[in-house]
Amino acid sequence: MATFMKMVANGDILSIALKKYKCFIPNGSILVSRDYSISAKNHENYDIIITGGGMVGTTLACALANNRKLECKKILLLESGRQFEYKFEEKYSNRVVALNQQTRTLFSSIGAWQHIKATRYCTVQKMQVWDACSDAMIVFNEDYLTKEIAYIVENDLLLHAVNKQLTDKENVNVIYNSKIENIKLPKTLEENAQIQLQDGTKYKAKLLIGADGVNSLVRQTMGTQYVKWDYNQMAIVATLKLSEPTENIVAWQRFLPAGPIALLPLTNCLSSLVWSLPTTEAKRLLKVSEEEFVDDINNALWKVYPKDGIVESGMRALQQLLEGLSLQTGVIKQLQPSVSAIIEGSRAAFPLQFGHSVSYVQTGTVLVGDAAHRVHPLAGQGVNLGFGDVTVLVQLLAEAVVNGAPLGDMTYLRKYETLRQRYNVPMMFTIDALHRLYKGTAAPIVLARSLGLQLTNAIPVIKKALIEHASGQIGNR
């Protein structure tokens, strides 16, 4: 990890990353080009409009309405999809997220955690990450088994829990099946954001929040620079039956030459799979029989890859060095589970991409969640970054209100952007760099990543910092 950190410091990762990126300013005028002047009078008036009722947008609406300094604000949540109906099923959903401590705090504060708790979730107390091409491994939280690192929750249940809290909030109006025809953003603080739906209804608000996901219309209308690239990878998800029941509290992640495979605990017999693979390989695995798929998973978890001479000797040198510094090197490797079957029909795949909006805000307009940033799921951070956005934005809007500032005031929006980018950007580039580092089997890369893993394991302080970052504890300072 030391090598890696140095790379970060030198900006190497950034340059690696930037070499590949496609950078473009989307043409917002596609939507706003029709000369369209609306008289502000026939607009229904709100203080805040949120576009996108996904996990992040819905949680934001709830957190805003829940804040005592913002409870007087009229909020409109526009979701283009149908109204979501949750029906409890014994069978687990194949879409789950790993929530960190900070996200859990947010959910407790809006009262949604109680519904999750009353239904089901699984606590992760340990994380073991290991390398397929060397002996390197890293264990998080080995010494603090009492501490909880993450919580595995189904997406559906999470959205349901938040929706349940939202129904009590009188000042929030949710409109489903709302297809946006036109967005007009404010240019000055005195203006309103204006939205027209395809059915002709018009709304205006002092603040427009884009929570409309990776292809955000709000972001496109802002015309902000968006940096993105495809990984040419897909993530396969599935619900897995373990060969034998265990006390399932460990999140497993193995770095393979083709991409990482991760198992997240659901119950003592079930785990959830997130496996990143080159697109062609992923497509093949979607087609093979379930038995063959299970064999492939076990292979990915257990197959011994040829070790590399250079890597081995490099590792030995490191070992000596660390012993010289009297740092701990050996860790007890716990054996990973084997998989006996997959829950029928739970296999699915999603394309992976990296995307980051260069700015998150402009007067009266702000982006949150995937609308602002999209990461590789290998660190399970995607939606946590979005929930972190929610926490910080709500705090700053509350501050704006008690300082008598309009909601669209850049003083507060820019602070949100600074705080979130200071947290999100290093996280995103770390995740991206990890992905790049772990993709190849060429000796120098394997050596670098082995050394990185060994070093973090040996230096408790770095490891602690990594855990804290991953669990969002140092995000807002």
Partner: protein, 286 residues
């Protein structure tokens, strides 16, 4: 480096004003009778009036004044809490408070105070600024009935409005005033016993001369030359003793500094350049 951070917030800029307006203003100024309005400096009124259409451009000439709002609104809120005012409505923390904003200009501070529940009267000597303030307030329906702007000067306004207000605010004003004693006396007379006065201004120190005039006006050109007359600056001690003369006890003095690169203000312990002061008017029996 510190000196650079000081700044005058009310620049007296020319250059973008139309000539005919300038002559109108000169006429206006010659009309006004200096001995009768000794607290106002006619030259200052003229220069600020010229800024009226720029007054609400948050990125324009007055960006530093806009950027000061979070600090000074917080100063008023916290100051009132310190003297026992209880907030009943979390989003209207100044509900029930009557404020006089002396030298309100275009209303940059009056508006946020009104938005958090206060009933604000803003007075300014410049008719253009009062017009600008009224026009801007009309853009936000939530301010309806909360703001009252009057074109007047404190010594004319005070006699008919004795002991009317809970709070007097004079932010970035007193450094432009000629007769500070009369100014403070008039301000304080409009205040109810037990009420609070909040002032922000520039100190009269070597750093404030270096920072506020030499650096801000000449080197960094943050504000046009000639904005400030250092002789009109007042030290916290002088201010405190004047306030004491008119029956006010100083509760708190805070230093402030400005970072021009980020257009952001911070509290600091040193009052060497900019400072904020909170004093409370004694009740009669005290």
């Amino acid at each position: 480096m510190r000196t650079i951070k000081s700044l005058s917030l009310r620049p007296m800029s020319t250059g973008f004003t139309l000539r005919n307006r300038l002559s109108e203003q000169i006429q206006e100024i010659t009309k006004c009778d200096p001995p009768k309005k000794p607290t106002v400096d006619p030259a200052t009124v003229e220069h600020h009036s010229k800024l009226s259409n720029k007054w609400w451009n948050v990125n324009g000439e007055l960006r530093a004044l806009h950027a000061l709002n979070p600090l000074r609104v917080q100063f008023v809120r916290d100051g009132l809490a310190n003297v026992g005012f209880k907030v009943e409505c979390p989003y209207l923390p100044l509900k029930g408070i009557k404020i006089l904003d002396v030298g309100c200009g275009g209303g940059v501070l009056s508006e946020p105070l009104a938005r958090i529940g206060a009933d604000v009267t803003g007075i300014d000597a410049s008719s253009e600024l009062i017009t600008a303030a009224k026009e801007h307030a009309a853009l936000d329906p939530s301010l309806d009935g909360k703001l009252n702007y009057i074109e007047t000067v404190i010594e004319d306004y005070a006699p008919d409005n004795k002991e009317t207000f809970n709070v007097i605010v004079a932010s970035e004003v007193i450094e432009h005033v000629n007769d500070k004693e009369l100014f403070l006396k008039c301000c304080i007379s409009t205040m109810k016993p037990g009420g609070s006065i909040f002032l922000t201004t520039l100190n009269k120190t070597l750093p404030s001369w270096l920072g506020g005039i030499i650096a801000a006006e000449n080197v960094l050109k943050l504000v046009p030359k000639g904005t400030h007359d250092w002789n009109k600056f007042i030290t916290p001690a002088e201010m405190q003793s004047l306030l004491e003369t008119y029956g006010c006890k100083t509760k708190l003095i805070h230093g402030m500094f400005y970072n021009p690169l980020r257009n952001e203000w911070f509290w600091m312990t040193s009052t060497a350049i900019n400072y904020a002061l909170h004093a409370v008017k004694r009740k009669r029996q005290e």
